[in-house]
């Protein structure tokens, strides 16, 4: 049952609205730095746009989806109203206002520091204050998820927490802890400089703090997608989830090992020792486990559905799947992109292979394929699945949905595959201008142009998404019944306490953080002479 429908709808609508704007900026950026564009602008505009695109797509859009979906899961899976709905609205407002506060200085050119902050660059303080407001708003959500989880458990001592809620709380706890790194960086390193209290900054330490957030934030983005895989996909295709326990273990593994691995983003940074880089690399390798478990479980669940529908043979069952169902299509396309993106990720996490692609366009291609592709396409699926229950109106433009999903998939492949390729050729990232007339990079011109075509396809898909959702909002009223999640083949009646609670896993998460981050952070805090003068962005305006 969904009670606070307006709350959830508000989150989704704001998320997709800012997503549409940021998508437009993204497509413009692809064109701007391509050989199709005769260069005529100040590079400053490009960096403004990249900062806005990254901040919205990285902080605002997925956070709103995770929050809105989290509230929906709480009410639908626990089958009772959300505790703290007023606080939830307060969190939503904080995120919305924070997004505006952060974006105004960016659009004015006062904070073109990119969404990863990049100290010693320092921009207008309101940019960072806005980002902090977004994070604090999301922390309200984290607290509400924990409170609802604990309250339900207290009232239902003899029942396991529904899988969707368990996974949702795993994502909330992971985000709560992983956002601490960026918060420390902003509050103790960047804001004092941005406010003019200090003029130097320990860029190395700030980068280590940001790496604390930077990798696990991806898993925070990923968890709604995985929840959709496990709890929406099997039900939507008329099957059952292969294993409830396997799903819980996958989410637990994310909680434990997704966070203390961020130093693999700092392989080229001198301030972290090679030994700790190796340890982070090892744990990054471990984080492939929950994804491999997931791929297996989801494929097995699909096979169950197919065989129930009469599918036969070793591979023949694939054709018996309900391919016209948008959730089926989205999940399959998502898994394909996850496969390519994941393979690329394994290259990034290994020290030697990373050195060939570090800071090249490969990285940008990689995270667009994983996040923009595999993850975001499931956000669309979640919206399509939830929409009729939220609006109380029919959502049946299935043909349009399929077109939208296919276009997103094709667009993302056409954008990101050439992007990876030019990265291997050595094209650096975070640059506004490339002189394609130079013989050294002239061969990259075709691939970069291909990416522009992909970006336009993605933009078309984004427009279709909004059309589908708006049509759903205007369709005739229809009663959809209660919102249900997938049922496991063996529904859990009794499960071990470890798979029904987070105490042990949170202890391991914090413990591993201390082991993997404790010494590098402590050492940089003690070392003298590591501060450098801040570079003020837009200060002269």
């Amino acid at each position: 049952m969904l009670i606070n429908k307006r709350l959830i709808l508000a989150h989704f609508w704001l998320a997709f609205a800012v997503f549409g704007l940021a998508l437009l900026l993204g497509a413009w950026q692809m064109f701007e730095r391509s050989p199709l564009n005769a260069w005529h602008l100040d590079p400053e505009f490009y960096y403004r746009s990249v900062t806005a695109h990254g901040s919205v797509m990285g902080y605002v859009f997925p956070t709103l989806i995770a929050m809105g979906f989290g509230y929906a899961i709480t009410e639908a899976s626990l089958e009772r109203p959300l505790i703290g709905a007023r606080w939830a609205w307060a969190g939503f407002l904080l995120v919305a206002v924070g997004a505006v506060v952060a974006m105004v200085p960016v659009l004015l050119g006062l904070a073109s520091v990119l969404y990863t902050f990049y100290p010693p660059m320092v921009g207008n303080p309101f940019y960072y204050i806005g980002v902090v407001m977004v994070v604090v708003g999301s922390w309200i959500w984290v607290a509400l998820m924990a409170i609802n989880f604990v309250a339900w458990k207290r009232d239902n001592l003899d029942r396991p927490v529904p899988l969707a809620m368990f996974a949702n709380v795993a994502g909330a706890y992971l985000w709560g802890w992983t956002a601490v790194g960026a918060a420390l960086e902003i509050l103790f390193q960047i804001l004092p400089v941005a406010l003019g209290l200090r003029t130097t900054i320990d860029a190395g330490l700030a980068r280590v703090f940001f790496s604390w957030t930077l990798h696990a934030i991806v898993y925070f983005w990923l968890i709604p997608t995985y929840i959709a895989y496990y709890t929406i996909f099997p039900r939507a295709i008329g099957g059952r989830l292969y294993s409830d326990a396997m799903a819980r273990i996958a989410f637990i593994l994310f909680v434990v090992v997704a966070m203390p691995i961020g130093v693999h983003h700092l392989f080229a940074d001198p301030q972290v020792g090679a030994g700790f880089k190796f340890m982070h690399s090892v744990f990054t390798g471990l984080v492939t486990l929950p994804t491999l478990l997931t791929v297996f479980t989801i494929c097995a669940s699909a096979e169950i559905a197919s065989r129930l529908r009469g599918g036969r043979g070793a591979f023949g069952w694939l054709s018996a799947l309900p391919w016209s169902n948008p959730i089926m299509l989205a999940t399959a396309l998502s898994l394909v992109m996850l496969g390519f993106g994941g393979a690329g990720g394994i290259i990034n996490m290994s020290y030697q292979l990373d050195s060939t692609i570090h800071n090249t366009q490969w990285i940008t291609g990689h995270f667009h394929l994983i996040f923009g592709g595999a993850i975001v396409i499931m956000y669309f699926a979640i919206a399509y699945d939830l929409w009729p229950h939220l609006t109380g109106r029919a959502l049946d433009s299935f043909g349009l949905m399929r077109t939208q999903l296919w276009l997103w998939f094709i667009g993302m492949i056409v954008t990101s595959f050439p992007w990876h390729y030019v990265g291997i050729l050595g094209m650096p990232r975070r640059m506004a201008f490339y002189d394609y007339a130079d013989p050294a990079i002239a061969p990259q011109a075709f691939s970069v142009s291909m990416s522009v075509v992909g970006a336009l396809i993605l933009l078309t898909s984004g427009v279709l998404l909004l059309i589908v959702l708006i049509r759903g909002q205007m369709a005739p009223r229809r009663e959809e019944g209660a919102y249900r999640f997938a049922v496991a083949v063996h529904a859990p009646a009794r499960i071990p306490a470890a798979l029904n609670s987070f105490g042990l896993w949170l202890a391991l998460m914090v413990g591993l953080t201390v082991v993997n981050y404790g010494f590098p952070i402590a050492q940089l805090m003690v070392l003298k002479g590591t501060n450098v003068p801040a570079v003020y962005v837009g200060a002269a305006q």
């Binding site: 590079p43 030994g275 471990l286 640059m431 010494f519 050492q523």
Partner: protein, 263 residues
């Protein structure tokens, strides 16, 4: 649900998860902090503790080597946000009085046709830095160096505030329709030259970079040539020397003519 205590070695979930995590962490630490560094002969480690310290990133004292000092003085000015603050009227008034003796070259209103820099409307941080550099000897000029030699810090602040206060006057050769040359709009990335306009006006300004609009072309060209040859060397971190060295004579001419025609 299970009544078994969660945090107990008798709980198999606890024992297994903590045991496996610890084992992986210990093995990773042994490999990363001891085995791998010792396997690299180039590191010239003296033992296990040395290997651990090296791999953990503990800085090791570099061998004492005399550092190379330039044969000339470099700028000691540090750009801080305080330089961007607006000055008070008293400072501007004092600056106006002091500026009487600058007028012979820089004009009574901060503008002149003598091919010396037009100072009217120039950023205070820029004027202040140049005066400092003339005083310290980081920048040398037969006319300016003696003037600056006897100035106190407050004098320089006041002069900078006064000239920043004066309105900019369009050049006699103003031509706002002149097309910006590529070096101003795009720079030359393959030669490590950022667009001039990204720091010196037209698109954006950066703290400490002078506004070039309306400056004499002769002056701009002479300064770029001085940066390129190294006779002028008061640019912080060699920013302008690195750029000017890589510019072609044609580009220098184009930039000089373009900025002279700008407001």
């Amino acid at each position: 649900m299970s009544e078994q205590p969660l945090f107990s070695v008798r709980n198999p979930w606890f024992a297994a998860s903590v045991g496996i995590t610890l084992a992986i962490a210990v093995l990773a630490a042994l490999a990363g902090l001891i085995w791998l560094p010792l396997a690299q002969p180039d590191l010239k480690l003296t033992g296990i503790w040395d290997a651990i310290c090296s791999a953990a990133g503990v800085p090791r004292a570099a061998r004492e080597q005399p550092s190379l000092q330039p044969t000339f003085k470099t700028s000691t000015v540090v750009m801080t946000p305080a330089m961007l603050r607006r000055s008070d009227p008293v400072s501007i008034g004092r600056g106006a009085t002091l500026a009487q003796r600058c007028a012979i070259c820089h004009g009574p209103q901060g503008v002149s046709d003598a091919n010396s820099p037009n100072l009217a409307g120039q950023y205070a941080a820029v004027t202040y830095k140049e005066l400092n550099d003339f005083k310290s000897g980081a920048r040398v000029n037969a006319v300016m160096s003696p003037f600056a030699a006897n100035m106190g810090n407050q004098d320089m602040l006041d002069l900078a505030a006064y000239y920043a206060y004066l309105p900019r006057v369009p050049s006699d050769r103003a031509d706002t329709n002149a097309a910006a040359p590529p070096i101003v709009t795009t720079g030359a990335p393959m030669r490590n030259i950022a667009p001039c306009g990204a720091c010196h006006g037209d698109f954006d300004t950066k703290a400490g970079s002078p506004w070039l609009g309306g400056q004499s072309a002769v002056y701009i060209k002479a300064q770029l040539q001085a940066f390129a040859s190294g006779t002028r060397h008061n640019d912080i971190s060699e920013q302008m020397r690195n750029i000017a060295r890589n510019m072609t004579p044609a580009e220098i001419d184009a930039v000089a003519a373009y900025y002279e025609a700008q407001p």
